[in-house]
């Protein structure tokens, strides 16, 4: 009888201990997550909530009164020619920069990876643009592409070609800015691809050689490309987001002149030049929605075809 009581007491103590341990674990777990959670709240979630609220008002910076507009800001955006142009420009920019930088940096990474002694030299050469300040570099590009002073047009003239105004001819502005964007992004993506290439075991190429897949195309199709799947996925998503956020080159080179507004620049104009905070908030929400849709679609489409080792 006593023995039974003793064991049941022991059981109860053990259970209490276990419960206590679980409680302590939950507490320390929360404590560990708290700093990240706080930052997430302060930096993302609260501002996002304010953004949603503001987007439904006609609030102007410094104004004393404001009223609810509901979805009117969004309706206005649909008919706004500047916003529509900035949307088209941004998509054009992304459609050049995204495939261009992924494919070019992959090609360069494969070429650089094959170098043995000169590899680090090329790594530095291609990575340098990443380390530069884009605003400062934009000024350099402005000089290089200048119709009368720049070396590019001087070269064109020497070859007997007509002078080209890269940064004022409406049809050329976005492709030119996309070219500068490519120049800046390729080095970074190349480094990511180089890391991905180094992670592919050399044995696989040896096995492929023996199995008859030793040719350059077969090696790429059977080993390199599948092996780079996770890297490509990451590079594509980050490049897409970076490209959507194009701003500084436009701000430095054209200030949106000649129909060269992009999404972020249009938001900047509305919010910080014209102080239409409510309308700018609505545009920002639309911008966020695009990035979100794009990232999720990419993740789903690519993720299914990517093999994670």
């Amino acid at each position: 009888m006593n023995a039974v009581a003793a064991t049941s007491t022991a059981d109860r103590t053990a259970a209490a201990n276990a419960a206590g341990r679980r409680g302590a674990e939950a507490l320390s777990g929360t404590a560990f997550a708290l700093p990240a959670l706080l930052l997430l709240l302060v930096i993302y979630l609260v501002p996002l909530g304010m953004l949603v609220v503001l987007s439904a008002t006609n609030y102007e910076l410094g104004a004393l009164d404001w009223k609810w507009l509901g979805l009117a800001n969004f309706q206005k955006a649909l008919g706004d020619p500047v916003f529509r142009r900035s949307l088209v420009n941004t998509f054009l920019y992304v459609s050049i920069v995204l495939p261009g930088s992924v494919l070019l940096s992959l090609l360069i990474a494969i070429l650089v990876h094959a170098r043995i002694r000169t590899r680090s030299f090329y790594e530095v050469v291609y990575f340098l643009p990443v380390t530069s300040t884009l605003i400062a570099m934009a000024t350099v590009w402005q000089f290089i592409l200048h119709p009368r002073l720049g070396p590019v047009n001087a070269a064109f003239k020497a070859l007997g070609l007509p002078e080209i105004a890269f940064l004022s001819e409406p049809a050329l502005i976005i492709p030119t800015i996309a070219g500068i964007g490519l120049w800046q992004l390729i080095g970074f993506n190349m480094i990511l691809f180089l890391a991905g290439l180094s992670a592919i075991p050399r044995d696989l190429y040896d096995a492929a050689e023996i199995d008859g897949a030793g040719g350059a195309i077969d090696r790429f199709m059977k080993i390199t490309w599948p092996g780079l799947g996770p890297t490509t996925m990451f590079v594509t998503v980050t490049t897409a987001i970076t490209a959507f956020k194009v701003f500084d080159t436009v701000a430095a080179l054209t200030r949106g002149a000649n129909g060269s507004e992009v999404l972020l620049y249009a938001i900047y104009l509305e919010g910080f030049q014209y102080f239409n905070v409510g309308y700018a908030a609505a545009l920002t929400l639309i911008f966020l929605a695009f990035i979100l849709i794009f990232s999720i679609a990419q993740a789903f489409l690519i993720d299914r075809r990517v093999h994670y080792a």
């Binding site: 492929a208 199995d211 897949a213």
Partner: protein
């Protein structure tokens, strides 16, 4: 049927490091030949040269009587199994095994994404390949794994898939680069038996690289022991064990390692150990060491034989059917010796730690080497089991 592989004067250096110097080797058709040696001895490089993955600086490779130096690996009709298995991680087991066949039977357009669906014969070829892969997989007992990816397999299963990929196109030469070293001990012993059985059944030539002398000795018809980019000795496993050509071979082959003691000889070639004359004479040369396998030691109770060396038991390992006894010689040398005793032999002795024993040698099985480690021929004077003489 297997093909012969003939290597002549192979030399290879990576930068300033010489990996192989003047290696010649004649592998018989259908033979199981092991290249064994410590890491960095050049055995893997030699295998990769045969496979066409590495180009030698000097020398020629011939497979089935045909020079293949100018041919890439895929045209040499060899298959290779890698230590890491080198399975394609993004492909299913079935696709991995099918790879050598699809690469050979389908042209580039028929393997290319999208364009491949235009080929009328592609489906038929794929069906044939699938059938061959399934048949081979059930033969190797991996049929239930065909739809899995390599990451979902155990080490032993990956090993079989790698074997299947090598076997699928019936090559005449199998090259194996330490294929068992990533397996646990139990599985390694099992796979050893299966590989030997596979070799017998296929009749193909196997060239097998390993640093594990047990693998080399148990499976091979011949063993080439390599060190420093050269072949030290080539012969049947028993040859290497019983007639090592040099002290290095004697010391590498055999576990526990062979006992080595310093000896000297007088002008007439009579050999002495620690100043005691052995009933052993040398035909020529200056002996420096004598080497005796652990089973060549005879132990008896101390004091019974004045001619024997005195020793003390340092440690005893029980291995079930045998005991390995570590000894320390008494004065004057204090050398360590190791002795292999069957349980029968051990039954007649008190073999506890610290016990004093007498040691004699089975000189018929002793090897004498000169200062450079070269084998010297010997003649035993009296009987087969001679005793040390004072």
């Amino acid at each position: 049927m297997g093909s012969g592989v003939v290597l002549q004067g192979i030399g290879k250096a990576f930068g300033a490091t010489r990996v192989l110097s003047d290696v010649s080797l004649d592998v018989m058709p259908g033979e199981f030949l092991s290249l064994v040696g410590p890491s960095g001895c050049g055995k893997s490089t030699l295998l990769r040269i045969i496979a066409g993955l590495e180009t030698p600086d000097r020398g020629t490779v011939a497979i089935a009587g045909r020079h293949v130096d100018h041919l890439p690996g895929r045209e040499r009709n060899v298959a290779m199994v890698f230590q890491s298995y080198a399975l394609y991680p993004h492909m299913t087991v079935a696709d991995n095994i099918a790879m050598p066949l699809t690469m050979r039977r389908l042209n580039l357009a028929e393997r290319f994404p999208l364009i491949r669906y235009l080929s009328p014969r592609r489906l038929r070829i794929m069906r044939e390949i699938r059938a061959e892969v399934t048949a081979l997989a059930s033969q190797l007992e991996i049929a239930p794994l065909l739809a899995r990816k390599p990451a979902q397999l155990s080490g032993g299963q990956r090993q079989r898939v790698a074997l299947a990929r090598a076997m699928v196109r019936h090559p005449s030469v199998f090259l194996m680069d330490e294929p068992l070293s990533n397996l646990d001990a139990r599985l390694r012993v099992q796979m050893r038996g299966e590989l030997a059985e596979l070799h017998r059944r296929l009749g193909a030539t196997f060239i097998y690289v390993t640093h594990d002398q047990v693998e080399a000795m148990t499976m091979s018809s011949r063993v080439a022991l390599m060190e420093g980019g050269r072949i030290l000795q080539l012969g049947a496993p028993a040859d290497l064990y019983e007639r090592p050509a040099s002290l290095k071979v004697a010391q590498f082959i055999g576990s526990p390692a062979i006992n080595v003691l310093p000896v000297s000889a007088d002008g007439s070639g009579k050999v002495s150990l620690f100043g005691r004359r052995l009933p052993l004479t040398i035909a020529g040369g200056t002996p420096a060491t004598i080497a005796i396998r652990p089973e060549g030691l005879r132990l008896s109770a101390s004091g019974g034989d004045a001619a024997a060396l005195g020793a003390r038991v340092h440690r005893v390992e029980h291995h079930g059917a045998e005991r390995i006894v570590q000894l320390r010689l008494a004065e004057p040398s204090l050398d360590a010796l190791v002795c292999r005793l069957s349980e029968n032999e051990a039954a007649h002795l008190v073999v506890g730690e610290g016990a004093a024993l007498s040691v004699t040698f089975d000189l018929a099985r002793a090897h004498v080497f000169d200062a450079e480690g070269r084998r010297l021929s010997t003649a035993v004077a009296v009987g087969s089991t001679a005793r040390l003489r004072a």
